[in-house]
Amino acid sequence: MNPHYKLYTAEAGKKSRYSLFSAPFKDLADSQGLAMRLTIRDIKSSYRGSFLGVLWIFITPLMNTLIWMMLNVSGVVRIAETPIPYPVYIFTGTMLWSVFTESLLSPLNQTTSSKSILSKINFPKEALILSGIYKILFNTGIKLILMFGTMLILGVYPDWHLLFFPIALFSLMFAGTAFGMLAAPLGLLYGDVGRIIPMATQVLMYMSPVVYVMKGEGVLQKVMAINPLTPLLVNARNWLTGLHSEQIYYFIGINLVLIPVFFAGWLFYRVSIPIIVERSGS
């Protein structure tokens, strides 16, 4: 059969089950080159028109760290003792948290920004998701360089657990992207979703050990312990900074649950694109 054969029909039954499950992987493979190209394009263009360029990647997390350090030092907010120097704790926390939030918003943002092309050219949509992931990896990579520098200066040394760090990092991206793909189609129809997500992540951040430690007996601490993001976040930070694993079974369990969620999100995203194109036009 012709490898380029395509059948477009309203009747879902006519499409073979095989193509429903194999097509996503084929498209994913086909989208690699385009995803890379889109990433290069977006990174180049976003920094070419700015004076400070790539430095902007550092500036936001640095400001965040400074604010929380000031709050802590001035005693406005009393934060329990952290196992590693507080600046490292906040910096890793905010960095890892932004990996999650960026992954969550990325499918929506990426798709919105290429809406005009989506309605005119047929290309593997996976490229949009993938390029979003690449951009986050690029940002995170740069932040990690700064992070390692700071850690060494402050005397925090990673140990062999560092080998596991990528797993935890990918888990955060995996979680973000899975839900991001589920939310993106709704967000493309209704602008409300794009406003709700940042608000919700803000709330979620205070329920997670991003800027303060999970310690004690308060309600918030209990919420934090149940929060499925906690093990991802805590282990990512611990493995990066030479601490030990925590809630490891919870960590594994969440990742297992994320696998079907991720595939559901992916398939949902794929089937929704023609519907979005239909409703939003060119």
Partner: protein, 403 residues
């Protein structure tokens, strides 16, 4: 190979919703259905209508289907379905082969980046790998012919330059199926011709679908036309000329040409060629270089002292390109009263294939000054059938000699 059907559309229909809020809500419902794998309903919901209604056709390799119709006839929606951007609500579309679409040139261009960088962006979106793009880079640059601006940000390009670059990239596609949606409207003359030559090369072994409002373009390239109106198939045939004529007729009704003058009325007009007859309602189909007789019936309400008749030929772009008149006393019409039929016989009309219209002007000359009594734009349409599909409406067949 030549006979294989590459595009097959069967009873394709697509709904559309006019109301935004409703449309978004229906979108949500469709998303919900898609999530659980239910086909969308085939009934119209409130505020919906069929934008494309029960369209079927086939295109083989080497053939070109011209898609014509008014704005909003559903052409673009149909193209989007063929390209897989929209899913049909009814029916099915089979595409056998690599699909290339020229629906928007320069997709993926980023204004801040240079022309050279954007070649890669555009190529990637069109499905080229980095290696393929590198291999074809020189050819693309040569085709676009904008070397001086290659390292300038695209935001400083003129729209024509952007189109040049976009087409240069797209022209490198080697598709089995090519979909073109009137993108060649911009660009200077030289570039447009270059694009057509390129498309002619591609046409040999692709199945092509062309949407255009330019009838010479349709007449020149297509082997089949589909005339759409309100989403429906109005005419589908290999007889391209008739399709084009039907298209003009759709406008003909809107531009009702028969006007009454103050002193005279143009009561009838008839065209005759080799035993074929054309009237206002039934277009004449004549052969290339055949004779044409134009008969005009004029009713005078008052006597006209010294009447002149003027005829002008227009092509489908409404460009005037030929005139006929009796100003030089070829026929003297003195003291014309009541009804008169004037005939103008042209022994050979060397027009290119296509549809044409004739405008009629009738006037009076008094004391050496001409005054128009009546003017009827597009009084009658006719179609020339023949081997010449040129850009110019007049195509000569000279006697060639090698000296």
């Amino acid at each position: 190979m030549q006979e294989e059907v590459l595009i097959r559309a069967e009873h394709v229909s697509k709904k559309f919703c006019r109301d935004l809020k409703k449309s978004l809500w229906y979108g949500m419902q469709d998303l919900g259905k898609a999530a659980v794998g239910i086909s969308p309903s085939q009934q119209l919901r409130p505020h919906e209508f069929w934008a494309v209604n029960d369209i079927s056709f086939e295109v083989k390799r080497g053939e070109c289907l011209g898609l014509i119709g008014h704005n909003g006839a559903g052409k673009s929606t149909l193209l989007k379905m063929l390209n897989g951007l929209l899913t049909p609500d009814k029916g099915s579309i089979e595409m056998k082969g690599r699909v290339g679409a020229l629906i928007e040139l320069g997709a993926g261009f980023n204004p801040i980046l240079t022309g050279r960088e954007n070649i890669f962006n555009n190529a990637a979106i069109l499905g080229f790998s980095k290696k393929e793009t590198l291999d074809k880079l020189d050819e693309i640059i040569a085709f676009a012919d904008i070397e001086d601006f290659l390292d300038t940000p695209v935001q400083n390009y003129s729209s024509g330059m952007r189109v040049r670059l976009g087409f240069a990239v797209a022209a490198q596609m080697k598709p089995d199926i090519l979909i073109i949606d009137e993108v060649l409207a911009v660009g200077d003359m030289g570039f447009v011709l270059k694009c057509f030559n390129r498309m002619d090369e591609l046409l040999k072994d692709t199945a092509l679908i062309l949407v255009s409002h330019s009838m010479p373009q349709i007449a020149r390239m297509c082997t089949q036309v589909l005339l759409m109106s309100k989403g429906q198939n109005q005419y589908l045939s290999n007889d391209v000329s008739t399709g084009i004529t039907r298209y003009y007729e759709m406008f003909g009704e809107e531009i009702n040409s028969f006007s009454e003058g103050e002193k005279v009325d143009l009561s009838d007009i008839t065209l005759l060629s080799e035993g074929n007859k054309g009237t206002r309602t039934e277009n004449l189909l004549m052969d290339y270089a055949a004779p044409l007789e134009i008969q005009i019936e004029i009713t005078c309400r008052e006597a006209v002292e010294y009447m002149w008749v003027y005829l002008a030929f227009y092509d489908k772009e409404q460009r005037i390109f030929a005139e006929v008149n009796n100003f030089t006393d070829a026929l003297t019409l003195k003291r014309v009263e009541n009804k008169v039929i004037v005939s103008a016989y042209i022994p050979s009309l060397p027009f290119a294939q296509g549809a044409y219209s004739i405008s009629v002007g009738i006037g009076e000359e008094q004391n050496g000054a001409r005054r128009t009594l009546l003017r009827s734009q597009s009084a009658i349409y006719f179609t020339v059938h023949g081997k010449h599909h040129g850009w110019a409406p007049i195509q000569y067949e000279p006697e060639w000699k090698l000296l």
